[in-house]
Amino acid sequence: MLDILEQVGINNYIYLSTLLFCVGVLGILYRRSTIVMLMSVELMLAAANLLLAVFSVYHQDVSGQVFVIFAMAVAAAEVAVGLAILVSIYRNIGSIDIDKLKNLKG
């Protein structure tokens, strides 16, 4: 299946990941539930990963895939810490509504 890019075209992959990325952005801007926002971040990450892998194939260079692995490691860490923070926020103010987190007000 090495010639997949010849058949599908790298353009389509780019469109796909861009759209997926934008779906993630939409989730972040549209939702108030922090946990869903976190999921959206994961979507964005996945979109980026996908594109990395595609370009890795395109350039026939394994580095891109290695970076996907690293990105996954980072994503895992991020989710773990992010969820921990969410838990602690929930415990403190009883909600994870993003619009209620206004302590940053200057």
Binding site: M1, L2, D3, I4, L5, E6, Q7, V8, I10, N11, Y13, L16, T18, L19, L20, F21, C22, V23, G24, V25, L26, G27, L29, Y30, R31, R32, S33, I35, V36, M39, E42, L43, A46, N49, L50, A53, V54, S56, V57, Q60, V62, S63, Q65, V66, I69, M72, A73, V74, A75, A76, A77, V79, V81, L83, A84, I85, V87, R91, I96, D97
Partner: protein, 167 residues
């Protein structure tokens, strides 16, 4: 044939992605996300990146997904009705997203990816073996750092979510 599979997969990816974002119940979101990630794993497979595909399933659907679900259930959020944002901010969100999409696509179009020059050379560059070698040879140090990062994240997560003793 492959093109058709790609389109199907792409539809699933985008569709479940949008459902993830829009589903009212967070649990549903999580489930849609799993489906989405499976489809991405499928993409990886089509690209002949088996290792990535497997890792992706393990990490996202195995680990992250479980974490999310646990948290959701822990907080008992599923039955909580999430209030909608104000109309203005929803419109602003939609506009921003469109803008982002247009901008990024425009960037790619302007960058002018030259698909014709692509030639499959029959070299094995992405089998598990090769990845393993590269990962533990060329990227040895970052790899180790990734493990440190994970440990730190774990400790951090434990520390942060630990209930503070009321003094």
């Amino acid at each position: 044939m492959i093109t058709i599979i790609f389109y199907i997969l792409a539809t699933i990816t985008l569709g479940t992605g949008i459902l993830t974002v829009l589903a009212k119940n967070p649990i549903h979101s999580a489930v849609y996300m799993v489906v989405c990630f499976f489809s991405i794993a499928g993409h990886f497979l089509m690209l002949n990146a088996q290792f990535l595909s497997v890792v992706h399933i393990i990490v996202y659907t195995g680990a992250i997904m479980i974490l999310l679900l646990f948290t959701l259930m822990l907080m008992n959020l599923s039955d909580q009705h999430e209030p909608k944002k104000k109309v203005a901010s929803r419109i602003a969100a939609a506009v921003s997203v469109c803008l982002t999409a247009i901008v990024i696509l425009a960037v790619f179009l302007k960058a002018n990816v030259v698909i014709e020059s692509y030639k499959a050379e029959n070299i094995d560059f992405q089998s598990v073996q090769v990845i393993g070698q590269v990962l533990l040879d060329e990227y040895m140090v970052p790899f180790e750092f990734a493990s440190i990062l994970l440990i730190t994240a774990m400790i951090g997560a434990v520390l942060i979510s630990k209930r503070e003793k009321k003094a």
